[in-house]
């Protein structure tokens, strides 16, 4: 078993670290967080240096890349600029959906823009009454005169929608008996008449806006449909696995950043006449944190390797997401404990990582949904 990265991956990660040192130093990320601003400058720098084209077909100006390489990018982003890592991870699912299901015209327009530094396409699924139970969707799309789609409804937790040019919007045909066979996917320009977007205040992710979206008689041309009518659910499910894995990888980077802060602090902070790192209770915490980081990274390496080798990861990816998002928060929480009062102060990045990583156990499918995906699959293996 060879755990080494390829030379190309190592060079790419060095290049990315240097880019982040230049364009997204910690002080700048903290400032953006405080001002609740989208990281436009680092995002453009990522585009200018080809990172946003990773995994996108060369036909649209991208550079083919495997899942592991994309996870490595998210890991490094997560460590040095977590909000940018989140935005990168959120973009993957909509990019993949568009690559797989959109028309050539839609692909050229949207993917070409993303590669040049436009924000990712936001994903519009959740509604006030429909989150993980997407069958409860109410937003409707009605074809009028075989020319125009008329869309009405409301979306919630639609992250990035107030900065994005497009929302990949899920609608439901209320007449379809099986809700999973009555959903459709649309590419909705956010400046379309009838679209109203309000950012929602939240605990973390201050540089990654999450919004509610009101859709009031929104008219879209027939060509705005992505893929096939009523096949939206299948299209949506096709790429959740990679999104969850890449977002998980960004959490590993965040945990490592917190661990390094804690270990450095343990060496410096003197109490009772010696550095607190001399105390075994602190050492125990640091060792447990280091083990979790090792486990988390190995976990996403393996799932990425499976995906790159076209192996199914139905329950494996859910278990990895569950473990990594929980363990990364635990590591950051322990780092806060080691830093004590300092870790709780707004002046230190630990509090930001703590606020930002907590939601990773909710977004992209809650812990409980991950159990729900993995549990039945595990049992199925032992059914006779």
């Amino acid at each position: 078993m060879d755990f080494r990265l390829t030379e190309e991956q190592e060079l790419l990660m060095s290049s990315l670290k240097e880019l982040l040192e230049r364009e997204a130093p910690e002080s700048y990320i903290a400032e953006l967080d405080e001002k609740h601003e989208f990281p436009w400058k680092p995002w453009k720098a990522l585009a200018d240096n080809g990172f946003l084209g990773l995994g996108i077909d060369e036909k649209y100006g991208g550079t083919p890349a495997d899942v592991l390489t994309q996870c490595l990018v998210a890991d490094v982003l997560g460590k040095y600029a977590f909000p940018v890592g989140v935005i990168y991870g959120l973009g993957v699912i909509t990019i993949r959906d568009i690559e797989q299901f959109a028309s050539d015209e839609q692909k050229a327009r949207v993917l070409g823009g993303i590669i040049k530094g436009e924000p990712p396409v936001a994903l519009g699924i959740s509604e006030p009454q429909a989150g993980s139970d997407a069958a409860g969707l109410k937003t409707s799309a009605v074809l009028e005169g075989d020319e125009e789609w008329v869309i009405n409804g409301q979306k919630i937790y639609c992250t990035l929608s107030n900065v994005a040019k497009y929302i990949l919007l899920m609608t439901r045909d209320s007449k379809a008996e099986n809700p999973y066979k009555g959903m459709s996917m649309f590419l909705l320009p956010t400046d379309t008449k009838g679209v109203r977007i309000n950012p929602l205040p939240k605990v973390g992710w201050w540089s990654v806006p999450t919004c509610e979206v009101f859709l009031d008689d929104v008219r879209l041309p027939k060509s705005a449909l992505v893929g096939t009518v009523n096949n939206g659910w299948m299209q949506l499910m096709a790429n959740f696995e990679i999104e969850r894995l890449i977002l998980s990888a960004s959490c590993v980077g965040a945990a490592e950043a917190a661990y390094e802060d804690a270990a450095t602090y343990a060496n410096q902070r003197v109490q009772f006449g010696q550095p607190i790192g001399n105390f075994q209770m602190i050492q125990e915490k640091l060792v447990d944190m280091a083990i979790k980081i090792e486990n988390m990274r190995n976990y996403y390496y393996k799932i990425a390797w499976m995906m790159d080798n076209k192996m199914p990861v139905r329950h494996e990816h859910a278990m990895a997401k569950l473990y990594i998002t929980q363990a990364s928060f635990e590591v950051i929480d322990d780092a806060m404990q080691i830093l004590g009062g300092m870790g709780y102060m707004m002046a230190h990045r630990i509090q930001r990582l703590w606020r930002d990583v907590r939601v990773m156990r909710i977004g992209g499918g809650t812990d409980q949904i991950m159990y729900n995906i993995a549990g039945p699959q595990l049992l199925k293996k032992f059914k006779k």
Binding site: E8, S15, L54, A65
Partner: protein
């Protein structure tokens, strides 16, 4: 225009270990392109982008140079071709041997309009190789170059001195050592990294070159030692400024600093 850009691989400063006896260990060090040379590479690539031609990267040194990742690293930053003189006889080469080896390699490269170097190396920083190379080749040679333009077969350069900036017209070919503020080097993208593995690389040994005076070195290094680490004395001086100043002078005198 054809440009030769010289670079050096140096141990990553983050990996250099100072041992308790003061000796320096490079055993775990990754070898990376000297920071100062990244600006020379970028300047060469920008000139060729603006005027056409090609960039030939050139380096001489021990076996680390032949490392496949190190080769891709330099080529991913824009040069079209890579020429290396890899020979363990060049380990710990002084500036003279380095410059003479570079001169012998340049003689094999054919026509060129310009040779660029960094202002010094990140490990030793003697700032001599570029100047010696120019002298050996008998070419116009300048250091402290903060701007280079190419027009009508001549080089228009700016040379940043302590109190002034000289604007000079230099006939080509020439050897120029560039400053760190001449540009901000680009970062390699995945496309460039993938392309790097496909670019031509030529490797020579000292046996392939006619190096003037062979392996003779002009400088003998007796030892390299890190400064002795001393624990902080944790002396806190309090009181009125005059008294504190007197106390400080007293401590410094006691330590033999004053």
């Amino acid at each position: 225009m054809n440009i030769i850009v010289c670079y050096k691989l140096v141990p990553d400063p983050e990996d250099v270990v100072a041992k308790p006896d003061g000796s320096i260990s490079l055993d775990q060090a990754e070898w990376i392109i000297s920071d100062y040379d990244l600006m020379a590479i970028e300047a060469a690539v920008q000139l060729v982008e603006a005027n056409g031609g090609k960039v030939m990267a050139l380096s001489v040194g021990p076996s680390q140079l032949a490392n496949s990742k190190a080769k891709k690293d330099v080529l991913s930053r824009g040069p079209d071709e890579l020429y290396l003189v890899v020979d363990d006889g060049l380990r710990d080469a002084d500036t003279s041997l380095t410059a003479r080896t570079l001169a012998a390699a340049v003689a094999k490269l054919g026509e060129f309009d310009l040779i660029l170097t960094g202002e010094g190396s990140a490990d030793l920083y003697f700032q001599q190789v570029g100047m010696q190379l120019g002298e050996l080749l008998g070419l116009p040679t300048f250091n402290a170059i903060s701007k280079v333009e190419w027009s009508g077969g001549k080089l228009a350069v700016e040379r940043s001195l302590e109190d002034e900036v000289e604007a000079l017209e230099v006939p080509a070919p020439a050897v120029l050592a560039v400053t760190t503020d001449i540009n901000q080097p680009r970062l390699p993208s995945m496309k460039e990294i993938l392309k790097a593995g496909k670019k031509p690389v030529v490797e020579w040994t000292l046996g392939d070159l006619a190096v003037q005076d062979g392996l003779a070195q002009r400088v003998e290094v007796l030892s390299v030692r890190s400064p002795k680490q001393v624990n902080r004395k944790q002396i806190r001086i309090e009181g009125k400024p005059e008294e504190a100043a007197q106390a400080l002078i007293g401590h410094l005198s006691k330590e033999g600093v004053l």
